[in-house]
């Protein structure tokens, strides 16, 4: 069978870029290579209104390519240092896509530590970083390079860094209307939270993936009664990714192509 003319990373970048469609004039932050390329692609195709940084402290009018920049000069349009990011988060003008280590059926995410004892965790990770503030204030999507039961956990995540739709975490009088979880992109599928009571549902399967593979590799129950096949990248998308955003093909190291495709 002829190998498709796109790779898994390219498929995921294109699928993930859909997270920002129709989201308005917000700061698009992709943490990690695939989310960053996805945000950049969104800005260069369907959502030019997105705001974006150079990865450090400047807002840019054109997404900055990843890897060695050669002679490329970022097209600076403004300033966005960390202090200002916290103000931007407060007003909710942001949609971040992150790569959590664990997620549960409520969409609660963890990047802090693994284990049930926070005094001496089995594996210390980064700490909660900005997850609690991001998730209580603005839209968030997630990317998982390895769709399996260790990241899509059956119980609650070990440390709730990112807020989800867990009713037992909703304090009396707490305003939860700004909690908004968007897409979950994995190497197998695209999911969202649009089931009843924000239940996670399969939105699309990547070409060649069977629903059973997704079910077997997810620790919680999924709604899967109306999914489609993830759209394959267009030539325009592929050329933006290959020729401009990621000329050194760092995406292939970040998410190797499926050998069994």
């Amino acid at each position: 069978m002829e190998k498709p003319s796109y790779t898994l990373s390219e498929l995921c970048i294109c699928a993930a870029s859909e997270a920002w469609r129709d989201g308005g004039e917000v700061l698009a932050t992709g943490i990690g290579l695939i989310p960053r390329l996805a945000a950049s692609l969104a800005k260069m195709t369907h959502s030019p209104e997105l705001m974006m940084t150079d990865g450090e402290a400047y807002l840019v009018s054109e997404p900055v390519p990843v890897g060695p920049r050669d002679n490329y000069q970022p097209k600076i349009e403004g300033y966005m240092n960390y202090s200002r990011v916290f103000l931007n988060i407060g007003i909710g003008h942001r949609h971040a896509m992150t790569g959590p280590v664990q997620m549960d059926k409520y969409g609660q995410t963890n990047i802090s530590f693994i284990g049930d004892n926070h005094l001496s965790p089995k594996a210390q990770l980064l700490g909660a970083r900005g997850f609690p503030g991001n998730t209580i204030n603005h839209t968030n999507s997630m990317f998982f390079p390895n769709h399996n039961n260790r990241c899509f956990v059956g119980n609650e995540v070990d440390m709730v860094s990112g807020v989800g739709y867990n009713p037992s975490k909703k304090l009396k009088g707490m305003k939860s209307e700004f909690i908004n979880l968007g897409l979950i992109i994995s190497n197998l599928s695209v999911m969202d939270f649009k089931g009843p009571n924000n239940q996670i549902q399969v939105k699309s399967l990547h070409p060649g993936v069977e629903i059973q593979e997704v079910i077997d590799n997810t620790g919680f129950e999924l709604l899967h009664d109306k999914y489609v096949v993830t759209p394959t990248p267009s030539n325009e998308q592929l050329s933006i990714i290959r020729d401009f955003l990621d000329p050194h093909n760092l995406r292939e190291q970040a998410l190797p192509d499926r050998s069994d495709k």
């Binding site: 240092n81 960390y82 202090s83 001496s120 909660a128 900005g130 997850f131």
Partner: protein, 290 residues
């Protein structure tokens, strides 16, 4: 009224059990020459407040940390900080784990001499369940909303690295990001500045003054410390030393850590600069591209 002091002099202001805030972010513009003075000293049982990088890791391995107040600890080049991980996994430090913004809000409250800062950040997450000392309050207005009352994080001493300072403590940071340094300074009873360069007050003009982020009344002492952020970055002057950080990162067992301490931390600043490859090496470190 000069505030210029030697780097060792900061130790006379720091006692065991104090709360110390460290400026910078991850592996960027950390006041490492001052951190090394702390590491060499006999103070202990410190509460450290930091957007952590190797500053936190080194203090953990040197057994200086009683409690860490943090939003993350990361080397950035390699996301995880091995010395901090070891201390956490052994259960050898107490922690107050916060969101990055919440940490800032605690510092802002302290800097405004308020008991707490009101925010939604923390609601719905385990930040509240893991830190029962952080309370919620009800809005006194008709919305009656439940909010987090992030307690003020009051510091005894803040340590900050800048590009230029005069002898009065007029400081200038030229990197693209101030990070949260101004909030650390305001939250602290005393602030000690390490600076790449001492300048004369009459060199300061309108252009420079745009890079002056906090007033000199907040500065207690100024230490001239060229390349004082190494092995972290001081953009635009120099980038971080990936190779040095990677070797440090591997030196987590007791024997390797003692060797790292002997080879680098035990030295005075001039000898340290020679030991890590000299000023030309540091100047040649490329400014990181993110």
């Amino acid at each position: 009224m000069t505030k210029i002091i030697g780097s060792k002099d900061i130790i006379s202001h720091i006692r065991s059990g104090m709360t110390i805030g460290i400026g910078g972010w991850g592996s960027r513009r950390k006041p490492m020459s001052l951190v090394r003075e702390l590491l060499k000293s006999d103070v202990e049982d410190l509460t450290i407040v930091s957007y952590g990088g190797p500053d936190v890791g080194m203090l953990c391995s040197a057994k200086k940390v009683k409690k860490l107040i943090f939003g993350f600890v990361s080397m950035e080049t390699t996301p995880l900080e091995s010395h901090f991980r070891k201390a956490r996994q052994e259960g050898s430090i107490e922690v107050m784990e916060l969101d990055e913004g919440l940490l800032q809000f605690g510092l802002i409250a302290a800097g405004m001499r308020l008991p707490f800062f009101t925010t939604r950040v923390g609601l719905g997450s385990d930040i509240l369940s893991l830190n029962p000392e952080i309370k919620t309050i009800s809005s006194p207005y008709k919305d009656n909303e439940t909010l987090v009352a992030m307690p003020a994080i009051e510091l005894d001493v803040a340590l900050i690295h800048v590009h230029e300072s005069d002898d009065l403590g007029n400081t200038f940071i030229y990197g693209p990001d101030l990070f949260i340094d101004d909030k650390f300074v305001r939250a602290s009873s005393k602030t000690f500045i390490s600076t790449e360069r001492i300048i004369k007050t009459d060199e300061i003009d309108k252009n420079k003054s745009m890079f002056n982020w906090f007033e000199r009344s907040l500065v207690t002492g100024v230490i001239e410390s060229p390349y004082g952020a190494h092995p972290t970055a001081a953009t635009p002057n120099y980038g971080f030393d990936k190779e040095h950080l990677s070797n440090y990162s591997k030196a987590t067992d007791q024997i390797e850590w003692e060797a790292y301490f002997e080879n680098y931390i035990s030295l005075d600043h001039e000898s340290y600069l020679k030991a890590v490859g000299g000023k030309d090496h540091i100047t040649s470190l490329e400014v990181p591209v993110f």
